[in-house]
């Protein structure tokens, strides 16, 4: 490990939330969240169902804006800039902070068009073939599909569809990839393929992943954040730290109880 100065460490924060609260109508889904997401690291968000970890993920690229009644207060910064500032275009945020969902959701289009879609929307002027190949290679799918780029994305296996969705996210060259249970609909082998891919990707991207699978969080992430739910059902961050410490010697007894399966 290289020793980093304090200044270096600060610039290594890609995303940061301070005093973040999210309401859906009257219901407070998240409260008082302070969290730093380190650049080029995989951060796993874990916690029981309903603790707000997916809400947290959606806050990072303004996906919650699309949910009626969602209200956000506090601060979320990306590379130091407030992403909820009125002058910020949420579409721009989402192109730099991409998202991959639980269920692979390719468009009913060809493999090629799935990957090219975001680029076309953004008015991409470069070499489209090269961009598509680069994204498919990045998602470790190229070798499997290079001879059938015109066939439907829907014809791929579940694991391949998910990698296609990752390629689609990579095509627009984001800095951050948010993943909401990216492997929960996949078989164990495809799951491992996605995890291996995440570890490859983190040298170029910052990844935040929500997972219910604690072994997956342990295997794939560098940092783990444990969220829990209060008696008013508002989600809050219990602790965040290096994954190896969270899984061998967590500081908070609530984390201990959750990860050892003593409460669910």
């Amino acid at each position: 490990m290289t020793t980093q100065t304090q200044a270096d460490t600060e610039t290594d924060i890609a995303l940061q939330a301070r005093g973040l609260q999210v309401h859906y109508g009257e219901f407070r889904a998240l409260k008082d969240i302070d969290i730093d997401i380190q650049r080029n690291r995989i951060t796993a968000l874990i916690g029981p169902s309903g603790c707000g970890k997916s809400t947290m993920l959606r806050c990072f690229n303004r996906m919650n804006d699309l949910i009626g009644g969602a209200r956000i207060s506090g601060q979320v910064t990306f590379n130091g800039a407030e992403i909820y500032d009125p002058s910020v275009d949420p579409t721009e945020v989402r192109s730099r902070i991409g998202m991959v969902f639980q269920k692979p959701n390719p468009f009913p289009k060809s493999i090629y068009d799935n990957v090219a879609f975001g680029l076309k929307i953004n008015g991409f002027k470069g070499n489209m073939d090269e961009a598509v190949e680069k994204a498919l290679r990045g998602a470790a799918l190229w070798d499997e599909v290079k001879d059938r780029l015109k066939s439907s994305g829907m014809a791929l296996s579940g694991g391949q569809q998910q990698r296609l969705c990752i390629a689609r996210a990579l095509a627009v060259e984001p800095e951050v990839i948010l993943m909401d249970e990216p492997a929960s609909a996949l078989d164990p082998i495809s799951t491992l393929a996605i995890e291996g891919l995440m570890l490859e990707l983190c040298s170029s991207y910052t990844i935040v992943v929500v997972t219910h699978n604690m072994q997956q969080a342990a295997r794939v992430s560098h940092r783990t954040a444990f969220f829990n739910m209060d008696s008013d059902r508002a989600g809050f961050l219990v602790e965040e730290g290096p994954t190896d410490e969270i899984f061998t010697n967590p500081r908070d007894p609530r984390t201990e109880a959750y990860i050892t399966g003593r409460f669910g």
């Binding site: 029981p48 604690m214 072994q215 342990a218 829990n228 739910m229 209060d230 899984f247 061998t248 010697n249 967590p250 609530r254 984390t255 201990e256 109880a257 990860i259 050892t260 399966g261 003593r262 409460f263 669910g264």
Partner: protein
Amino acid sequence: MKMPKGPNPRAAFDRDLRALQDDLLALGSMVEKAIVTAVEALRDRDLEASRRVVREDDAIDRKRFSLEERVIDMIAIQQPVASDLRTLITALHISVELERIGDYAEGIGKISLMMGDQPPIKPLVDIPRMAEKSVAMLRESLDALVKRDVDLAAQVCNADDEIDQLYDQVYRELLLIMLGDPQKIERATFLLWAAHDLERIGDRATNIAEQVIYLVTGKKTELKVGKY
């Protein structure tokens, strides 16, 4: 925090963890008995008892392997984390330490057999005292395990100093005997080996205490760098 309303979801695993600790303590008792018998047999020149100690070490070895296999199975099946993981890793270490202590007892049994029916060079006083102290340390370290008591674990090494002092005393005394009468060198050396085995038992009990501290705190600690 949301607490479980139904039964403990990890009840079966908790039961297995308790059973594992019980078996670890049973191994501790076997080892303790081996030390006591080995040293009494050495003192009383009871060769039959010495032979029994050597023979019964096989059971200690088997018990250690069966404990290890169970820990490995539990790691594979339960995929433990946090304190569960530390409990299993600690059990693995302690079973190895206990088996090794058993080997020292077996070693004392073999020394006694090597001495055979040669006349004793002196009545044994300090060696049985070392055995008493090492057994007490072993018990305390396992007691600390059961109680998850870090302070008690830290105290274990205090007794180790006393064992080390006794060992120095035995060493000097035997050296004088050897210098005084070269005929007694072989028999004195046998006793020196036995004393050394007991001194090592103290160190192994200290290792067990360190494991208890790791189990409770998650921190690796060297309680004391032994003199030997």
